[in-house]
Symmetry: C2
Amino acid sequence: MKSLKNFKTGDKLKIDSEDKGYTGILMPRSELADEKFIVIKMDSGYNIGIEREQIKNITLIKSEIKKEEFKLKKAVPDENKPKISILATGGTIASRIDYITGGVHSAFSADELISAVPELEEIANVSGRQIFNKFSENINPGDWIEIAREIYAQIKKGADGIVVAHGTDTMGYSAAALSFMLNTPVPVVITGAQRSSDRGSSDAAVNLIDAATVAAKQIFGGVFVVMHGESSDSFSLIHPGTKVKKLHSSRRDAFKTVNALPVGKVENGRVVYFKNSNSYKFFSGQKNKELKLDAKLEKKVALIKYFPGMNEDIIKNLIDRNYRGIVIEGTGLGHVNENLIDILRTAIDAKIPVFMTSQTMHGRVNMRVYATGRKLLNIGVISCEDMLSETAFVKLMWVLGHTRNHEKVREMMLTNYAGEISGKTNID
Amino acid sequence: MKSLKNFKTGDKLKIDSEDKGYTGILMPRSELADEKFIVIKMDSGYNIGIEREQIKNITLIKSEIKKEEFKLKKAVPDENKPKISILATGGTIASRIDYITGGVHSAFSADELISAVPELEEIANVSGRQIFNKFSENINPGDWIEIAREIYAQIKKGADGIVVAHGTDTMGYSAAALSFMLNTPVPVVITGAQRSSDRGSSDAAVNLIDAATVAAKQIFGGVFVVMHGESSDSFSLIHPGTKVKKLHSSRRDAFKTVNALPVGKVENGRVVYFKNSNSYKFFSGQKNKELKLDAKLEKKVALIKYFPGMNEDIIKNLIDRNYRGIVIEGTGLGHVNENLIDILRTAIDAKIPVFMTSQTMHGRVNMRVYATGRKLLNIGVISCEDMLSETAFVKLMWVLGHTRNHEKVREMMLTNYAGEISGKTNID
């Protein structure tokens, strides 16, 4: 294991490990990772941890690279422009890396925002506020409520649109949660970045500008995700908050609308709607939406992905621990092994509603086609139609926050509140 | 609830329910579903269950439709053609519905096979055998072993290729399991049908013919899935068994190769390879593969999909119940909420290896980029690279069937046995 004692944070180093060489700027030790890893920021802007045990040689390329000077512009309000609030929750988009401290400073005053992304000033009068600063994998259902409350307060105070900067990992879950918790006459647009904002290829600025464009210009409300539509910066897509999923671990165009079409796109600063898409019709057709916050959640809900050989003990554990609802991500049209039927009946008898989605992701659950599905229907398992598993899970939390009456839970789960259920076309 | 006493199985009925009308042939009562549902076979060939409570009216359109005569052809062996074994495990492809009994009769003698799908005789000398008859949602890890043993026996007896007819729901899991359990110099081709073989639009015959074509003509071994490449009958794709996933609940082209390209396609009876694809290079490059069966599995393995708010009790349950391994389908580059780190460390301390895949499905896990990932690496969670969650889960069962030594488990999990790990290109 190589010693780092001759090098300091901010030094540009060449590190040769057993498999390959890395060049980058030495980042400060983080609390937990320092024992095994050295973290450097590569020219690509990516931070990477290199296992210390694997390091064979370290060469100094350039001593401590000094912090860039960052001059704040002063925001000048323009009465003719709409007012948008940009709310930060953390994640890659909300950070610019300080080369010296390696710390993540979030720029969320209006001055900081327009200094970092000057285009924002052209679009709207922006105001900024940091709600909290979390990687999105650490966001919990309680955080969704906090975000919803802040959005509600900002709209109440007169915002014409909201942008929420959010980590991408669980953005889809949060978008679904906000979709159910908020009834909003103005657009609430969630965005993020797959690449750090200090990286050459970062999507942070474009996503923020395009999200702000939708927040400022869109005349109908609802909760949306705006992210890159393809790897290049050519356009962003406007995804319905209940139908969007992160479908790549690293690509800039990782977000896709599933089981529907996007509402539209943002290209060259213009919003272009996909007027034939059901999502567009759904959101643009909701007239006179009154602002309402309904942020009740039951947190004892589980999302369980079925796998071959799954033992009933996994369901039994949920019953024993007083879970209030279960969403099962089954196979195909909505199936699990028949040998789980007894334990699922036990759950339903214990007043724990069980809902079915499909791990095929695309397509609709239909438990009436095959015998296994009919057996599941027969014991009371309820189909989630073409809802995403993640959306069904979040929705069940929200529904159970309102009622535990079985019939009412079923009825609410099958009501299309926020574009989460597409109209049936035919059996396919 | 309408009475059925004036109608008999085989009658063509028009049933008006509260939401819509259905026309089809009355199927016999199945044991469990009859209390709540009437099952009819519609003109489309789909069976559908209609809730009896919802039925307002039933009209007889035509009395009992008589069973079609089915004449068996006699298979004539041709010494110049390769020998392939078609093994049935159940599922939609293996069935033709008897209109009178509604029963599912599997046609798996050579005579029955070539009578049902005469094109097979042009391709090869076929022999058939039914291993068992299960909907694939009911297939368990023990069944994979049974299928692997039968394939091994057939190749040992001289088969030049194998076709396995299998339900589509868990076909991806079975394909992965067979990929690890079998080392085979001849092609093992799994196929199925998304639509019943008595349905006009069925994909059963084309899939079986194309699978038989690959089994008969392909000069290199390995385990593959051959299914429709698009909705029409234009071509089928040859997917690597470890990289294939059912990605639509009902479409004929539901199966996709994920994180790789297919090996090739079958078009107009010809096999066309995608020679630039890594999958093609991997399988065609494996020379002189010796036939070997290695069907050991540890069944106490769980696949857990992370969700926001996931409580540590879900992991604790697996520890308490002596699970031997856990695959977590995390978010993004391979993350879970930091508050699960303690319980995961407890699992690892208890000699339960924990592996990480991503619910983004596409892309590679890389836990070195963000602090959460590095913390997970630090406690010993192991990245599954770009393996599908389902494949990683099946592989862990197989690996733990061989060793429980932690370092050996890690090493085997990260060895590319069957095309399940794609070569790294770069950090993206």
